[in-house]
Symmetry: C2
Subunit: 446 residues, 2 copies
């Protein structure tokens, strides 16, 4: 198995989160749009900005439940991914549209119908991030206990099979609509699905023609043996969250192996590593930006100090230490990186340099993805380093705040990547599959 | 109970069907858009034309199954009502958006989320036609046998209750998003749904704020004792299919009684009688239009001749009679209107006048709704007659073909109705509830 970088250009996905950004306090920043969650104009505006930057695809994570405590935080997910992407599909022309839908809490027929319709109206730009949903609150919203992990993944496989089978029921050249002859559909090319799984059954057909890319590619999120297996079988894209280059490389290698084990080409599966950033003209300006976010969330900062202590084996509290100072040398000597959290190594290294606790936190050591707090060059450097090390095929980028984070990335980071020959300057084609560099598919793929 | 016509103005809904029109052969007409089914630009264009005519609301019927044989016919339903309405919501400003969703084959949480989001992005113009889906093909698409009628209606009641309860979980003034104070949501105003029915359970909350109309009004389609009961309990609008003024009047009366029996105001339920039309500058031109449709469907005409015979107690066939001629007097003498089909009376009357069989059919006696084939004045006359007889609150109009049928209605019929003082000249307000003249509602309504 060779590590193939294809055209030597990284793929980029933009996480839309709920409209505001990946830092849930940034809705309070000067210039931020306070009602971004319910403001579809603004959502579309952000998508257009990403398209201007030739970002390959938008990406929407989702769980069908109240995502987080909203007292002071903006939500993790949009009101409804389907509606958001329908709007974006109509008001953009090239950017991909990947959304998350649960294989446990949707009906294959309904989902197949909605996704294929979005694929048609976007001219082939839709993708489906198929997740099993492991959240108990979500389960309660459907009045059923959460199935165990094995069952969820069994359901996931059946669900995807059922959806793809439904997609394939309407022959690729069945949609005739010839006004002269009067033939509307060649019904000899429309078949029943007759899918009969243990958890899901569906008869079909689904009366929707093929899109320019055939049907939406499947994405998968996260790792784990079951996830890896599902990805190898079906996924064209994987949203991963490695914290180190080495972990990323390993994850990518396993994904490629899993694809090959399922008789697919390794290059037909593209890994997107999650990545967050806070951009400033200088490192100091970027740090100021992070301080402002901390200021908006004093309670969170207190929690983070405690958690930072846990990451390096210390009991820390805002009541006992001055966070604007480095840790006392006595504490530094006692530190060790916790093996329980992959982010500990970086926290440990930064604290060791004598950086203040506040600054260590401002560098984003407790974020959900690796973070660069710095100049556009520093952001580009990080992406370049991982990409050239074959650690990933691309990145799923999460701006701290949408209101200027997307624009800054597009206007300041993208040109650097392009200049370095690491990012395309024009879309590869018209469809999401074109952008991803993965094969046309129609009907059941496995 | 009084018959209240309120402001003396009829309500109008436009059936969008699949994009082409209610006659499934009109996609072949000169000027028709052959790919209307998959052409979202065209769908939106039609919606805009309806809005120009101040039509109160769009209406999408739906069944989650292959709707009809598509060999030569266009489909009965759009690819996906949700996607269609999301596009229309973004690209229109006033017209209502009512779509059909099944209470048997959707999950309350998913549906509540999608509908409330559509209500937000349309600024309060969404409505839900809640149907139980009695179609066996649809049941097979979900791998479950169709529940019996009682069970379906039990499920329907629970489903609507669950959805409305979820809608109410996010307090009307809970969405603070105050950048100064940092309060994003007043979580003390966000509650669990904890809905526990026999068929549906959901915990909630659903984290989506109120729309300008609170939440989407419920519509109901069809009659029957169970339907009437459901409508009385929940519906703000009812889509009915009476064939005579008398039946319409009776249906409306029963709806109003049912609303009152459930402690609601009779005026809070508005009946829309289904109505089809083919417009020409003269009656002859309108008939020519119908002949063209017949021409596109020779097999259908043969079936219709047989069915016409059945409606008047005769065995008729294109092989044994000349359809361009009146029936022979001998057959006319044997005719009687079948009590099995409410349309028989009209067929019987027309045949008795000595009209040719072809012309009787061209007058639309076998359509799904009453039909006027004639001038804009004749269409307006029909609507006026029923409306002034208190037979209905309004109409759900179905053009034969979208490509000129919507425009003709808007430009030729609407001005006549307005001149006669029977139709509004401007929208009543901003929301669908405003247009309908029904109360603001939030949370569980019954
Ligand atoms: C980067 C990343 C993104 C994820 N996004 C979602 C998501 O949007 N919705 C969801 O339900 N689960 C999401 N997950 C959860 C995974 O799908 C998966 O369930 C999780 O990694 C737990 O693994 P398991 O299912 O094997 O227990 C995500 C996981 C990762 C690592
Ligand atoms: C005018 C009209 C429109 C209807 N539209 C739909 C529809 O879009 N989808 C659907 O599943 N059923 C639709 N129905 C069916 C009704 O919801 C109802 O199921 C039907 O009248 C049979 O009655 P029952 O459910 O009491 O057996 C419609 C019925 C009528 C009369």
């Amino acid at each position: 198995m060779t590590i193939n970088q294809r055209d030597g250009k990284m793929k980029l996905a933009l996480q839309m989160v709920s409209g505001y950004g990946g830092e849930f306090k940034t809705w309070r920043m000067p210039g931020a749009v306070a009602d971004a969650y319910t403001n579809m104009d603004y959502y579309v505006e952000n998508a257009k900005m990403a398209e201007k930057g030739k970002i390959h695809t938008l990406f929407i994570a989702d769980t069908p439940a109240l995502p987080n405590d909203l007292s002071t935080n903006s939500p993790m997910h949009p009101m409804d991914p389907t509606i958001a992407l329908a709007a974006v599909a109509r008001e953009t022309s090239h950017i991909g549209l990947v959304s998350t839908y649960s294989t446990t809490y949707t009906e294959p027929y309904n989902l197949a119908r909605t996704l294929k319709t979005l694929d048609i109206i976007s001219n082939g730009r839709m993708g489906w991030n198929a997740v099993t949903t492991s959240n108990h609150e979500a389960a309660a919203n459907f009045g059923r206990p959460l199935p165990d992990r094995d069952t969820r993944y069994e359901m996931a496989q059946e669900h995807i099979e059922a959806v793809q089978t439904l997609w394939g029921t309407f022959g690729q050249d069945a949609y005739i609509h010839n006004q002269e002859t009067g033939e509307y559909v060649d019904m000899s090319k429309v078949e029943l699905a007759n899918y009969r799984g243990k958890h899901y059954q569906t008869r079909g057909p689904l009366p929707i023609p093929a899109s320019p890319q055939g049907q939406p590619p499947i994405f998968q999120a996260g790792g784990g043996d079951k996830g890896l297996e599902l990805a190898g079988r079906f996924a064209s894209g994987v949203y991963a969250n490695p914290f180190t280059k080495e972990d990323a490389k390993l994850h990518r290698m396993m994904l490629r192996k899993s694809a090959e084990a399922h008789g697919r080409k390794a290059d037909d599966i593209k890994m997107f590593a999650g990545f967050m950033f806070s951009i400033g003209k200088t490192k100091e300006e970027a740090m100021e930006r992070r301080y402002m976010m901390q200021q908006f969330a004093p309670k969170e900062t207190a929690h983070h100090v405690e958690y930072l202590g846990y990451m390096v084996g210390l009991g820390l509290s805002v009541d006992t230490i001055d966070i604007t100072k480095p840790l006392p040398q006595g504490l530094i000597n006692q530190m060790y990186p916790s093996p329980m959290d992959p982010r500990s190594e970086k926290a440990f290294e930064l604290l060791k340099t004598g950086m203040s606790v506040k600054d260590v936190l401002a560098n984003g050591v407790i974020n959900y993805h690796p973070v660069v707090v710095g100049t556009p060059e520093m952001v580009a450097d990080f992406l370049e380093e991982w990409y050239l090390a074959d650690a990933t095929d691309g990145f799923s980028i999460v701006p701290d705040s949408s209101h200027d984070g997307i624009k800054d990335f597009v206007e300041l980071v993208v040109p650097i990547l392009q200049e370095r020959g690491l990012f395309h300057t024009t879309y590869e084609g018209e469809t999401l599959r074109d952008h991803l560099g993965v094969s046309y598919e129609y009907g059941l793929t496995y």
